[in-house]
């Protein structure tokens, strides 16, 4: 990393988790059917205004999921894929697991927002295991979502805690799916995955393309609007 770039990165304020979730929420068109992966993506639902009709799906057979209930109004049989209590909006429906994954694999959802360890410039995603010798690998519904949903967006920190880029030329962690990611939201930028690799759609205030490149493990292109 050259020094100027490093200074630029150091000076800008990365987005918080909440800001990242809000940014994703802002970009979801009204009327879309959306699945939110467990972890950070689940927060996205909190930032879609209630009067805007985005229909959330949860792998465990809930379509039309609403926000967390008030403590006195919890339905103890109604959870999301992250095993948190949720509500059902008017117009919501329940289905069994095979039907629920039929919705996923059959390409009926417009969007899935997933967390990830790494995303490669060819759209590959690694989000379920950090090693081939994982002590207890757990895949859940990630692979089904990644291949089945029409569009996959990833929400993740730009770098690991030790400073490595999570955006890479090729994934080094075990893959979840090949070439499926269309967009990445990080704490520093929003990037589209194009045939030419990562194209920067937006950056946090004060950041430059050069500075972003200095903390990114794959070549960046300026977005053509």
């Amino acid at each position: 990393m050259n020094e100027t770039a490093a200074k630029v990165v150091a000076k800008c304020r990365p987005m918080t988790r909440a800001e990242m979730a809000a940014r994703v929420a802002r970009d979801i068109p009204e009327g879309w059917y959306v699945n939110l992966g467990i972890g950070a993506p689940l927060q996205v639902a909190d930032y879609v205004p209630a009067e805007r009709e985005v229909i959330f799906h949860s792998e465990n057979g809930v379509l039309g999921m609403g926000p967390a209930p008030a403590p006195e109004a919890i339905n103890r049989w109604l959870i999301n894929a992250g095993k948190q209590y949720v509500t059902l909006r008017k117009g919501g429906a329940y289905m069994h697991h095979a039907d629920s994954f039929g919705v996923i694999r059959g390409g009926h959802l417009d969007l899935c927002v997933l967390g990830a360890f790494q995303v490669a410039e060819n759209g590959d995603i690694a989000n379920w295991s950090i090693s081939d010798n994982d002590s207890a690998p757990a895949v859940g519904g990630a692979m089904d979502l990644a291949v089945g949903v029409r569009q996959v967006w990833v929400l993740m920190e730009h770098q690991t805690k030790s400073g490595e880029s999570r955006l890479t030329r090729r994934c080094t962690y075990p893959l979840t799916a090949l070439g499926v990611v269309k967009r990445v939201y990080t704490n520093l930028a929003v990037l589209d995955v194009t045939l030419d690799g990562f194209a920067v759609r937006d950056m946090v205030e004060g950041l430059t393309l050069e500075a972003l490149q200095s903390v990114t493990g794959a070549p960046l292109h300026a977005q053509v609007h």
Binding site: Y33, L88, G91, A93, Y94, M95, A98, F101, G102, G106
Partner: protein, 244 residues
């Protein structure tokens, strides 16, 4: 076309940009159906059959169609009329016979329509597979029969099976009992039949419903087709079906 502006007069919209799949006219319901489309038509005989939408399709005028339906029409109305008008290139069904299959049989004998006979369970499963993102599956049905011709056969666990491919539609015509503006559907008694699997198997799913209800009025445990599988709903309160 998942999202369309709400129309005044439908179940209590307060937000003009909310999801509203209910259309007001047959022309809107049929908009965009192209010549050559694969059209899935719900129903088992005349029960659960979307007769109004079939008439709408006749009016719409699309031709060169492939029709997927359990039956091939009765008499000279509805599906039979669509065939008689020469709009159908091919029919995929399990049981083209009926009390009065005159139109189909005339066209078939004259070589004017292609017929693909599919066992009823295989037909239902091929549609469900298309809806569920399963491109192909094995089944024991039709092994050793002439319907196995040119199909891949495989022994699994000591039994023989045929490979069958998913059957997707460009359009599905569905008959429902109740519907809401998100496109959630219920059916009545045995009128459910092929409708739920066809609804999930098509790109553009159009449902006619006897009753339009407010969002939230349908029991979420009882919705047989969730709205995600439905593109448009037309209110057609025609009353009681007649068995033909």
């Amino acid at each position: 076309m998942l999202w369309v502006p709400a129309f005044a007069g439908t179940s209590g919209p307060t937000n003009l940009r909310m999801i509203n799949k209910i259309v007001q006219t047959m022309a809107e319901a049929m908009a965009g159906i192209r010549d050559g489309a694969v059209v899935l038509v719900g129903g088992f005989g005349s029960i659960g059959q979307p007769n109004a939408l079939i008439d709408g399709l006749i009016e719409h005028g699309a031709k060169g169609l492939t029709i997927v339906s359990n039956n091939a029409g009765v008499g000279r109305i509805g599906l039979a009329r669509l065939l008689e008008l020469g709009r159908v290139r091919k029919i995929i069904c399990s049981y083209p016979r009926s009390v009065d299959p005159v139109v189909f049989e005339e066209l078939y004998r004259a070589g004017k329509i292609e017929l693909e006979i599919v066992p009823q369970g295989t037909l239902a499963e091929r549609l469900r597979a298309a809806g569920a993102g399963i491109p192909a599956f094995f089944t024991a049905t039709a092994v050793g029969t002439k319907l196995a011709a040119r199909k891949e056969q495989r022994e699994i666990g000591g039994r023989h099976y045929l490979l069958e491919e998913a059957l997707a539609g460009d359009v599905a015509l569905i008959e429902a009992w109740e519907a809401d503006r998100w496109g959630n559907l219920t059916y009545r008694s045995s009128a459910r039949n092929f409708n739920p699997v066809m609804a999930m198997a098509a790109t553009l799913t159009i449902a006619q419903a006897q009753h339009i209800v407010d969002l939230g009025a349908l029991d979420p445990e009882k919705i047989a087709t969730p709205g995600i599988h439905v593109s448009r709903v037309l209110h057609v309160p025609y009353g009681e079906p007649i068995v033909t």
